[in-house]
Amino acid sequence: MIDLHGFVPCCRRELRRSRKLLAWVGGATVVALLLTPVLHGAMAIIPAALACFGAALLWFAPLGHLATDRVLGHLESDRALPVAFRVMAAGRLLGASLTTLPLMLAVTALMLSVRTAGASAVVSFGVVFAVPALLQLLAIVALWWVLAINSRWSLRRLWWIIPGFGLLPQLVLTLFPERLTDALQARILDLVNALVETAASPGGLAMLGVLAAALLFASFAGAAMLFASGIERYRFDPTQLGMPLARAPRRELRAMRRGPLLAVMRLRLRVATEQFRRELLVLAVGLVVAAVGPPALRDVARSYVPVLATVLPAGIAFQLFLGRATGSLIGMQQLPVSGRVVALGHLLAIALLALPGAIALQLLRELRGETFSLLALASSWAWLVTLAWLTAAIGLWFKPKYLVGMMLAVFIALAAGVMLMGDDSLGAIVRVVRTSPRLVGAGLPLLAMVVSAVLGVPLFAAALARYTPGTEPDQRLYQFQNRVGRS
């Protein structure tokens, strides 16, 4: 007999932790679903696409909770509970799955907005219901495994998810001989055809359903076991608050007496050099591989270098998020310095950290045969600064309750564009964005950088001023442990 004590509280806790985001995104998704039949053409796509974006954020919420638990040591406290680790893991995984459910509704809204009027009932049913359901299932299974892997192998940073999912299959395929790849593709096609044929009969469909359910259950059980082994092996290390400490740089920070602006910038750079030493090294190796590596690896390196180039300046945003989670950001808030000066110090650090990435991107362009140009370098640099700075400022300011307001603002802007320019306005915007860098050179990115700086500095300062280090995660943990201990 399996003792399921603690399963429901663990599941409920996972849901409760995302409840604000879930409420806002769920509400926005329902609104999008209701709006879709009323609106037409591009206008109908906008709310559905925005709802999909919001729902995608929900997928990351359980990952954020796990990261918080690892950083603050809550996993160790959980281990003291009278609950089996596998039950605890299963409860968390189920709670995380339920958190992502608005994704299906959002994709349904999107499918409703893009389906063609003349399609048959079967095709319409497939597009509107089967595709969202399938996507939801895939998202849930992927979430189980990402959570389980992050629990077991202490991957504090989640940077590996996108390159891992995006590039690993590509790398594996490029390593196989072409003959083998073709054969593999042919076998996959055969399998899909066989599945479709089997699904044509009611008996076959039922059999496939049972097979899918068994696979799903096996996947859930496997992920829960891996997650549980992560809980079992976890050791809280107060010295590693979210950032593994590498060997400290020999060159220490010393007082310069040149004012707080440079002091803040130097502090951020000092932490970043330790935080991203490995990434800098990988960036250099990636460039060498992209230049002289074997063809199979060259493409992968060329795809991965831009990711690393973006990650380096965005590391400042990571430092801020970590400070916000651990409460150390209050130290910045209480400096006898205006919040705008602190913000500018961060912006300067980002601008400097974007340089290696911009140079790497420029070298990558040269490898593709484009000639070196200072304008292109300035353009890459400005885009990197803009992206990293907006991530830092908006990330510091953001609260889940702002999400709907932000989505509404984007909706109004896009809807106004559609009303003014007709249904093709979305395509026109995409075309302008694609061609504008060539049309205006570095002008657009530099303008974007200046605008983001002008808007981001007061936003950052306001967010820093209102920051209150909460003891919420600890209080929630305490309440949860009391509840589980009593039940």
Binding site: L253, A255, L322, G331, Q333, Q334, P336
Partner: protein, 242 residues
Amino acid sequence: MPNDTPIVTVQDLTVRYPGFTLGPLSLTITGGETVALLGANAAGKTTLLRAITGRLRTREGRVEVVGRDPLKAPPMWRARVGFASEKPQVDAALRVREWYAFLADCYPTWDSAYQRELTERLHLDDSERIGTLSRGSAVKAAYIGAESYRPELLVLDEPTNGLDPVVRAELLALLRSCFAAAPARALLFSSHLLDDVEALCDRALLLRDGRLIDEIAGPVLTEARASGSLTALVADALRGPA
């Protein structure tokens, strides 16, 4: 010796949380005073200290610290108030002396010689990383970070909680010597430990369930110290009517 210059003036301060309300409470702390805030867990000590230092954004009532409302004061006002809790509030990767170097660049009144003196007196290894400091060293580091610019009001949140007897004695001795001859400065600290009150303070404010219920000062405090009845006095007050 205490003088008449008010350093902290609090009038009808109220902070509301779901399930807990601090206040309304009023108090005044003048220059030269060392004041202890005593109370059981969840009595509201930390909330009161956070309200006084401007770390709490939502509150009612009037709070004035060195002449300004913490929520409306210009940034430079923060150089007149020091706050230290159980650990330095900065990135864990920094060495302690790197953090001090950073603070020296930010605080115009930072006294590096004084900081070195405090570091030596407390036997703190400032080459250690913030993240690897033991509890006692973290408390010392945080205290030095808040004291080295000689703020007019120094606020310490349970400075001796969890410290071993040697470190505790070192810290109390240092606090005594720093504030003994500083008539323009005031020290406000929260504690569970009556030994701290005995060793350090001119006045003890007793907090229970978010309310200031009593105050022990002057002859009463002196007599209680001398007769060894301070513990019973405070315990009776905090326990409340039977």
